[in-house]
Amino acid sequence: MAPFEPAALPELLPVFYRRLFPHGPYGRWLGYGGVVKNYFQLREFSFTLRDDVYVRFQSFSSPQELERELQKINPYKIDIGAVYSHRPNQHNTVHLGAFQPQEKELVFDIDMTDYDDVRTCCSSADICSKCWTLMTIAVRVIDRALTEDLGMRHRLWVYSGRRGVHCWVCDDAVRKWSPALRAATVEYLTLVKGGADTVKKVNLSYPVHPFIRRSVAVVEKYFEEYALVGQDILGSPESWDKVLALVPEEHREALQGEFPRRKDSVQRWEVLRGRMERTRGRGAAPCYADWEIMLQFCFPRLDINVSKGVGHLLKSPFSVHPKTGRISVPLDLQTLDQFDPFAVPTITSLCHELDTAGSDGEQEDVGEMEPKRRARDYKRTSLAPYVRVFEQFVEGMESARRGERLRRSDIQGDF
């Protein structure tokens, strides 16, 4: 695969928006079935253009117009904002204070840099296959909570293109949630607290809320492979000292004594875990240090500012990452554990695939080429499976809407 060169973007983006970007399902998604009048027209988009020129409050009268504009402007990056009270592209004509964001999907942004305090393999914008597991764990933990606890049905998880993941919750009711409720959700989902100054960032006490218990169960599935084998957090006295700093004093000495006598992290962890479990069995003074350690090393860190504001803009699915060239592709939860961020197609590789795939090449024979064939070009590339995931997501919402309509008409008795 040819490496991605940011300088090539001006050449590649037109191809991308003509032949690869899935305009069809994208428009169906944001139209939300046309149930609410003008929903699409009131949506804000923002574009980042060449030379870091940034334009906000773009809006379009239809998905078709959006498609045409994308193909004309060829933005480096697309952000999606809120559905407003008035058409965003006319916001200057509106009386000050009257132009307000009304609805938006509930979004989450999980970024690998927020785990720098517990990663040894990489830091800041770097990721590797070892630490990517943290994202897998994050998606599993949060998604479980969103479905089981919060009853949310339509969630789209997306790879951000470099070092994290985003989640878009699109349920009708949730799109109307107030900033307070969104912030409350993030608080409910937060267990790791404290900055550089805090050594122990997770503190649990009896009784432990079911949310915590269930999250620990998810983390547990990945902990041995990720933390004990991969990160080897108990591999040496320096590293296990850091872990033991999270354990209450009364247990630390015993563990300090026991650890050197074991041969690896896995065995040492067993000692620690066993000891903690025994305190819980006795019931006298239950200690949750093993859970606290697992959570501190693995539990997701959410950015409350991204989720709280109704007007907050977030990178669109299928947008290109300007630094890595990777496409922000939806994640298939069925195969999440096998997801490899380094295998995600870049715009360069996709265009290359188009070249080799067929006779169409890069000629812009507008007259000759059939729109249908052009629109489905992505199917000939490695983007196809990701678009399939996206289509399934959109179809899921459409079938839910049909079901709701049927239910309502049954109640009302019209046929």
Partner: protein, 508 residues
């Protein structure tokens, strides 16, 4: 539906059955009152509710809200001011009407700024919380139905199935308690605080709230509604402010001191100048003690200090002659000579007694006025020490007055919370060695009068709240606290009081 119930209500009113208007003693104040009301009633209702809310504030800081002392005191206040309280839960139309109308009037006064709104919202919520907690289970159910907050109850089967989860999620609820208590399925938006802090079981987008936490839900609901209503009211205020009858009262309500103004001196001439030094230590509020000391130390006070302290002295009974003598003696010790005093300062003293110029008999400043206007600058000693002094300096001063450290901590806490008058009340309690000041402090002269009364044995220090609030009225009617060792010809209500007081002062 609303339409027909209002029509029905109107019909009932005409028919004489007023109880239907207020089916519950508690309400969310969703509908404004629509009857006609006299200005007198308008004003008195508003003032009574304001008194009530100030007591609510006071009690909220001095007591933990769930304790019996809090509840009893608040109930007494409600009863005294003729607002609905527990015992009259079934049939108190007049009280409910007053409650309804006074709430809406105060909305007009308190919607005008962020600070006022916050204060009003806080006290109204505390009041609501108390009244809600006093409802019987039956009445609570009825009220919840009435305001459309009747959440779906969780079936026994489901509860058994979820028993362990409910127990683990809900703090303070053991397994047996979970079994006996009712749980409700509440939407997350209605239970934001419990959801946010993970103090309830959450499943499928619903919070499973135990009966005992329902008040938090209801309160949240009430706060949201009232907050919105206040914002809306503020927007429509301009039209109300244009009504000349209401404008002065509404301003007055949100800024003023409500109570006697100590301008009519019934006790003039009862104090001798020799007593002032000891009185300043025993019975002056901190602001006046500070001013007096500054005057003695520097033999001078600047204008702000002269006004605040001078009017206070007038309020405690200093005659014009005494005042002139007092100030002159002190100023002469400083840099002012007798002539200069007579020409300048004497005039202004006479002026403040209403003997010059406009002949307005100036009234001594209330706490509100001292706290909120004319802040002191370098070289000034007026103002409210709790408001205007640097906390460190305040602490040192209190230490030098031998206030116990725990008391100082309490005072500083109150100061941090901006409860300046409550801090002064605490100062009163500590210097007079009583548990409970027994009244709501609003005026330095009130502090003085109450202090004198306490020290003369005219009041039992640990009495119940029956003296609070009433003390302001009592002050007006109270005849005299005779402080002079030579009896004057004023009428005295209690000779025993008099004797005790004389003995007290002759000891000095």
């Amino acid at each position: 539906m609303e339409f027909s119930s209002r029509a029905r209500q109107k019909h009932l009113r005409l028919a004489g059955d007023r109880r239907e208007l207020y089916p519950h003693s508690l309400q969310f104040y969703l509908e404004p009152p629509t009857e006609s009301i006299s200005l007198v009633e308008f004003e008195s209702f508003a003032i009574d509710r304001l008194k009530l809310l100030k007591v609510v504030e006071n009690l909220g800081v001095s007591y933990v809200r769930s304790t019996d002392s809090y509840k009893t005191k608040l109930e007494n206040e409600l009863r005294k001011l003729k607002f609905p309280y527990r015992a009259l839960a079934e049939d108190d139309y007049e009280a409910r009407r007053k409650d309804h109308i006074s709430h809406f009037i105060l909305r007009l006064a308190y919607c005008q700024s962020e600070d006022l709104r916050r204060w009003f919202l806080q006290q109204e919520m505390d009041l609501f919380r108390y009244r809600f907690s006093q409802l019987t289970d039956g009445l609570m159910q009825k009220f919840l139905e009435h305001v459309n907050l009747s959440f779906e109850a969780v079936s026994e089967d489901l509860k058994t199935e979820l028993a362990n989860e409910l127990c683990a999620s809900t703090p303070g609820l053991s397994l047996p308690k979970v079994k006996e208590q009712m749980f409700y399925k509440v939407g997350l938006a209605d239970a934001v605080d419990l959801f946010r802090t993970r103090r309830v079981f959450v499943k499928d987008g619903f919070a499973y709230v135990p009966f005992k936490e329902i008040d938090a839900i209801v309160l949240n609901n009430y706060r949201t509604k009232l907050s919105k209503a206040l914002a809306l009211t503020a927007r429509s205020l301009p039209s109300i402010q244009s009504d000349e009858r209401l404008q002065p009262l509404l301003n007055h309500l949100s800024h003023s001191y409500i109570g006697p103004d100590y301008s009519v001196q019934k006790n003039t001439g009862k104090i001798s100048l020799e007593q002032i030094d000891s009185l300043s230590v025993k019975s002056f509020p901190l602001c006046m003690r500070q001013l007096h000391k500054a005057l003695r130390d520097s033999h001078h006070l600047r204008h702000g200090g002269r006004m605040q302290y001078g009017l206070f002295l007038k309020g405690i009974g200093l005659t014009l002659e005494q005042a002139l003598e007092f100030w002159k003696k002190e100023f002469i010790r400083g840099k002012v000579d007798a002539d200069k005093f007579d020409k300048g300062y004497a005039y202004s003293i006479r002026h403040s007694y209403g003997k010059e110029g406009k002949r307005t008999d100036y009234t001594p400043y209330s706490c509100m006025k001292i706290i909120m206007s004319n802040p002191p600058s370098q070289g000034d000693y007026h103002g409210c020490p709790f408001r205007h002094s640097d906390p460190e300096l305040l602490k040192q001063k209190l230490q030098s007055y031998k206030i116990p450290p725990s008391g100082i901590t309490q005072i500083l806490e109150l100061v941090k919370g901006m409860h300046y008058q409550l801090a002064c009340q605490k100062y009163f309690e500590l210097t007079h060695e009583v548990d409970d000041i027994g009244f709501s402090l609003n005026h330095p002269n009130q502090y003085f009068t109450e202090s004198q009364r306490l020290l003369s044995g005219g009041r039992e220090p640990k009495k119940e709240l029956s003296t609070s609030g009433n003390s302001q009225q009592k002050n007006n009617n109270q005849e005299s606290v005779n402080l002079n060792s030579t009896p004057t010809s004023s009428d005295t209500t209690a000779d025993t009081e008099l004797e005790g007081l004389e003995a007290y002062f002759t000891e000095d």
